[in-house]
């Protein structure tokens, strides 16, 4: 059942990497220890599998609960681990994606897969529980809108509050604002370009300015292509973060979950011929921001709020899906 659910939601997170959801504090054992020790570790730590690593921290085997039961039945629990461990260990790499991870669980039916770096050294472990937890964390940012959608859209006072932090947003006090008041697709992006310029003038790191601009461009283009109305871009500079909010008053999005999928688009043909409407807009916004909430309902406009942390992301010349 869990597998089914995970399989469905994985399509929303093609860029989720093993390193983001693996458990980094792995319990391991040396090959020379006895199976009895593994049994004790499993009992105390309440785990059902233990990787075996050599003196160079490389994974050379794995012992599961099943191996321990067999050892108890066969009366060889005092034997060294290396004699009975499974030697052909299937492992994951930190850069593997969710799809690969799930395919391993399906193919082998094991309960856990050790994660190793390029040198074969143990760096983490992934169980189904870790995947679920990782997904829930990710889902949190997207699905937040379900609970708050109604109050935001139906109560004007919420329209003046942050979707993420719920603080009152003083739009007049925005550090940057831009009225998206044109309908010509050729002009799309002038707001985002101006915002990038503004951020650079404010001495914001160029890589962050780039991330903000890309995500804002996508939001701005969406307003022009899809909303059928005008809209606004607001940017607030905070000590440790940059907040961007893009709102429109147009047609709205019927199903945000589907719209988040890469490749999904409702753009008409003449727009697609120009290279827009690749169905990458919302996924790009999510990829380039650190937190993103989108609130919408058919006929009631769209509000997108994105937070970009000034510190904490590395290697941001590209998106995480690079």
């Amino acid at each position: 059942m869990i597998q089914e659910v995970v399989k469905k939601v994985q399509e929303f997170f093609p860029d989720l990497k093993v390193s983001e959801f693996m458990n980094k504090s792995v319990v391991w054992i040396n090959p020379g220890r006895k199976l009895l020790h593994v049994k004790e570790i499993m009992r105390i730590k309440r785990i059902s599998g233990v990787p075996v690593v050599d003196e160079n921290e490389r994974v050379i085997g794995i012992v599961s609960l099943e191996d321990i039961i067999k050892a108890l039945e066969g009366d060889y629990i005092e034997d060294p681990v290396e004699k009975w461990m499974t030697k052909n260990v299937i492992t994951l790499k930190p850069d593997d994606d969710l799809e690969k991870t799930i395919s391993l669980f399906e193919k082998y039916g094991y309960g856990r897969f050790p994660v190793v770096d390029e040198d074969g050294k143990l760096v983490g472990i992934v169980t189904k529980h870790d995947i679920l937890t990782g997904l829930l964390v990710k889902l949190g940012t997207i699905y937040l809108h379900d609970a708050r959608r109604k109050e935001v859209l139906e109560n004007p006072k919420f329209f003046d509050r942050s979707l993420i932090t719920e603080e009152v947003i003083d739009k007049k006090g925005a550090d940057f604002s831009f009225h998206i008041d044109y309908f010509d697709i050729n002009l799309a992006g002038i707001g985002a370009s101006k915002l990038k310029q503004f951020l650079l003038e404010k001495d914001i790191d160029e890589r962050i300015a780039r991330r903000v601009a890309i995500a804002t461009y996508e939001a701005e283009t969406n307003v022009v292509i899809h909303s059928g109305s005008d809209g606004y871009i607001y940017c607030f500079l905070r000590d440790d973060q940059i907040v961007v909010r893009v709102e429109d008053f147009g047609k709205g999005i019927e199903n945000v979950e589907i719209a988040m999928k890469e490749g999904f688009t409702t753009a008409p043909d003449h727009i697609r011929e120009m290279g827009f409407g690749a169905g990458m807009g919302l996924p790009n916004m999510k990829r380039y921001s650190d937190k993103m909430v989108i609130v919408s309902e058919a006929g009631k406009g769209v509000v997108v709020e994105m937070i970009f942390f000034k510190e904490g992301r590395e290697n941001e010349t590209q998106g995480s899906n690079g």
Partner: protein, 109 residues
Amino acid sequence: MKLKEVMDELGLKYVCGELDKEVVHGYTCDLLSEVMGNAKPDTLWVTVQSHMNIIAVATITGIRGIILCNGHDYDEQTIRKAKEEGITLFKTQENSFVVSGRLYALGLR
């Protein structure tokens, strides 16, 4: 590699912009969101899109220059905007595949 060298090596037709800029990467695609999502800064972009919005995409992404393929022409607005934003424009009769291959051979990645 300098844009001037690329232009000379590939026999590109020069449209506007500085030639002294360095490019390190190449990227070939006509879908704007894909370009923004994947192209790196200091990229030379190979495309058949000629409308003005490619300049916004280039500016935001950090793309230094654009090669327009298949003998297409840039819109006037596009050229004007490129001059404003400092994006170098070239065009060529060759298709995107050939241009990409030659850029790759020159060492762009």
